[in-house]
């Protein structure tokens, strides 16, 4: 019996750490993941203090405000509040569109890099990541500068006679999309690159050998095989886009207001409302979690099949 137990331990010994060695991992998860989430959830059920901060009494006011409208003075019968749901919906839509654009541009880019000779791949990857050495805020502000009515882009377009009057980009959806695209493209490129690099091109040859055209090969063989990379990229772009506030704040206008900005405002200055900001965050996180879980379930089922 003892021998059996020992061999069992040896079998798993290569897979993971045990006992005290796990402590740092658990400490990290506890301090940087569980604690903040618990705190945030806790705050969402507290009462708002006047100049930001919270009063330690239980309240559902934050969720009430998100979901229900009770008129200006709070005495009318409650109806569904559409303001925030609309913002959510718009954010999901914006983030989804940004993800799609990143995918359309990122996939060929990743493919291109992964099929370069080995020694030049590192250089291409380096070039993709170089802009990210500059702070996101600074990059977004620069983009605003570039795109504004009297900015370099419009100067160029008018200077070359392509346009008579400046192209209005700033404060439009287009600007926000550009901002999101520019912010998160590498998060799409890198995981897809990793997947394509591992892709065995003999599979494409085998498909061609069995009468598949190039398009069919892409659809039936390449995409399914590199799918984990594509999905990782989509998640990595979609999730931060959903909570982004720099791009919508600096590049967008009132019509492109997104959840990130809404949350950000709740924690800024005396206008803020911490419990409400926390509640919006909790709702956002729950939504993201549900999406990821549905995906994980679907994938698990696909793998069992």
């Amino acid at each position: 019996m003892a021998g059996h137990a020992a061999s069992g331990a040896a079998g798993t010994g290569y897979r993971g750490l045990t006992g005290p060695l796990l402590l740092p991992a658990w400490a990290m998860i506890g301090i940087f993941l569980l604690l903040p989430v618990l705190l945030m959830t806790l705050y969402s059920f507290l009462t708002k203090e006047f100049r930001g901060g919270v009063d330690w009494t239980f309240s559902l006011a934050a969720y009430d405000r998100f979901l229900l409208s009770r008129g200006l003075f709070g005495d009318e019968p409650p109806v569904l509040e559409w303001t925030y749901i609309t913002i959510f919906w718009r954010s999901i839509w914006q983030a989804g569109l940004a993800t799609l654009i990143c995918l359309i541009v990122g996939f060929p880019t990743a493919w291109f890099i992964a099929t370069r000779p080995l020694h030049s791949r590192a250089l291409w990857l380096f070039m993709i990541t170089v802009p990210y050495w500059v702070n996101l805020l600074i990059r977004t502000v620069s983009l605003r500068f570039l795109l504004r009515d009297q900015g370099p882009l419009n100067d160029l377009l008018i200077g070359t006679g392509l346009l008579d009057s400046p192209l209005r980009i700033i404060n439009t959806n287009l600007a926000v999309q550009l901002g999101l695209f520019y912010s998160y493209l590498p998060f799409m490129v890198l995981p897809i690159y990793a997947a394509v690099e591992r892709y065995n091109f003999a599979l494409s040859e085998a498909a061609a050998d069995l009468y598949a055209s190039r398009w069919t090969t892409l659809r039936e063989i390449v995409l399914p095989v590199v799918r984990p990379g594509i999905i990782a990229g989509c998640i990595l772009v979609f999730v931060p886009s959903l909570g982004a506030f720099l791009a919508p704040d600096l590049l967008g206008g009132a019509k492109t207001y997104m959840i990130g900005s809404l949350i950000e405002e709740q924690f800024k200055g005396s206008q803020g409302n911490w419990p409400f900001g926390a509640a919006v965050s909790v709702i956002l996180m729950t939504l993201v979690l549900i999406v990821l879980m549905v995906y994980a379930r679907a994938r698990g089922r696909a793998e069992v099949r």
Partner: protein
């Protein structure tokens, strides 16, 4: 028409490196044709040229009389069993096997039925719903075979399809593969660097080295009538003896062996270039009393091989010689250091072209 594939003076260069240096061969209908050669001699490259994965630097390949230079791989009625299987990892075994049929537009019902038949043929009926990663190497190889056979190609290209199997399974698969080829009537182009495999399975063998075809012929021709030193040495064991050619006419030569004895032997169609050599298989020589045979040699070592004894000897001029004698009670083996006479069987020596 009898010839299915005709390769004409095909040259393939990778940059400055020449992988195929003017290969010409024709492969007949329903033939089991083997490309045999050492690692790196260009066997895979030639298969890839036929399948359409490599553009030719020079030359042409005809498939049933048609030049297929411009034809993409998916338009060639040729299927490949890849050296490293290349099974689709996200598809089940059955889906893998049915893939070619699906691409040909066969409906799901019939194609799954045919996939089932193919799996039966390679003895994998119970594995239809597994993923390739859940199979052993040998099973994967058989799936690759079934997948390539399913669309009934005109020509099946097999790149060392038995290399991943253990000896027992490999021997069994040799027989099965040969049977399969005879039953289906599909032309097989089979790549191997295993000479035994080539000899036992093939109708014709092309022996390659360094991007060139060195000899084409039936297994018997290749083994018994090698035309050059490379083929003689690569297929089986042989003795290469330097000789002087006394006369040469119409493929028959009179040669002078080391030690002065003369011999008439068949061989190359053209007069040999460089130092002429004859090739003599070890089993075609017999031990005789010294002075009464064609050669005299001194014994250096005896090696016990079970059924045989291998006698390693040396001629007076230093040429190494090895021969075999059956391990029987009737024959007394010579002692090391003793001098023996060696008789060469009639027709056993072949004059080589180089």
């Amino acid at each position: 028409m009898d010839e299915v594939v005709a390769v004409r003076r095909v040259v393939k260069r990778f940059g400055a490196f020449t992988a195929l240096a003017g290969v010409s061969l024709t492969i007949g209908q329903k033939q089991f044709f083997t490309l045999l050669g050492p690692s790196g001699c260009g066997k895979t490259t030639l298969l890839r040229c036929i399948a359409g994965f490599e553009d030719l630097s020079e030359g042409t390949i005809l498939l049933e009389g048609r030049d297929i230079a411009g034809l993409a791989p998916n338009l060639r009625p040729v299927n490949t069993v890849f050296q490293h299987y290349a099974l689709f990892p996200h598809m089940t075994v059955a889906q893998n096997v049915a893939f070619g049929l699906k691409m040909q537009g066969m409906a799901p019902g019939p194609r799954l039925k045919r996939a089932g038949e193919m799996l039966e043929l390679v003895h994998l009926s119970g594995f239809a719903d597994r993923l390739p990663s859940q199979l052993s190497g040998g099973q994967q190889q058989r799936v690759a075979l079934a997948r390539a056979l399913a669309p009934s190609p005109r020509v099946l290209l097999l790149d060392e399809p038995l290399s991943a199997l253990d000896l027992k399974l490999r021997q069994a698969m040799r027989v099965e593969l040969k049977q399969l080829q005879e039953e289906t009537g599909i032309t097989f182009v089979f790549v191997t660097h295993d000479q035994e495999e080539a000899l036992t399975m093939s109708d014709r063998i092309a022996v390659m080295s360094a991007g060139e075809v060195r000899q084409i012929g039936s297994p018997r021709e290749i083994y018994e009538a090698p035309v050059n030193r490379f083929v003689a040495g690569f297929i089986g064991e042989t003795n290469l003896l330097p000789v002087r050619v006394a006369s040469f006419a119409g493929g028959m030569a009179r040669v002078v062996l080391p030690g002065g004895h003369q011999l008439t032997c068949p061989g190359a169609q053209t007069a040999p270039t460089g130092t002429p050599h004859v090739s003599i298989r070890p089993e075609r020589m017999t031990l005789v009393p010294p002075g009464s045979g064609d050669l005299d040699a001194s014994v250096e070592r005896l090696i016990y091989l079970g059924t045989d004894l291998q006698v390693l000897a040396r001629l007076a001029d230093g040429t190494a010689l090895h021969l075999r004698m059956q391990n029987s009670a009737r024959a007394t083996p010579p002692g090391a250091g003793s001098t023996i006479g060696v008789a060469i069987e009639e027709g056993a020596a072949r004059l080589l072209a180089d």
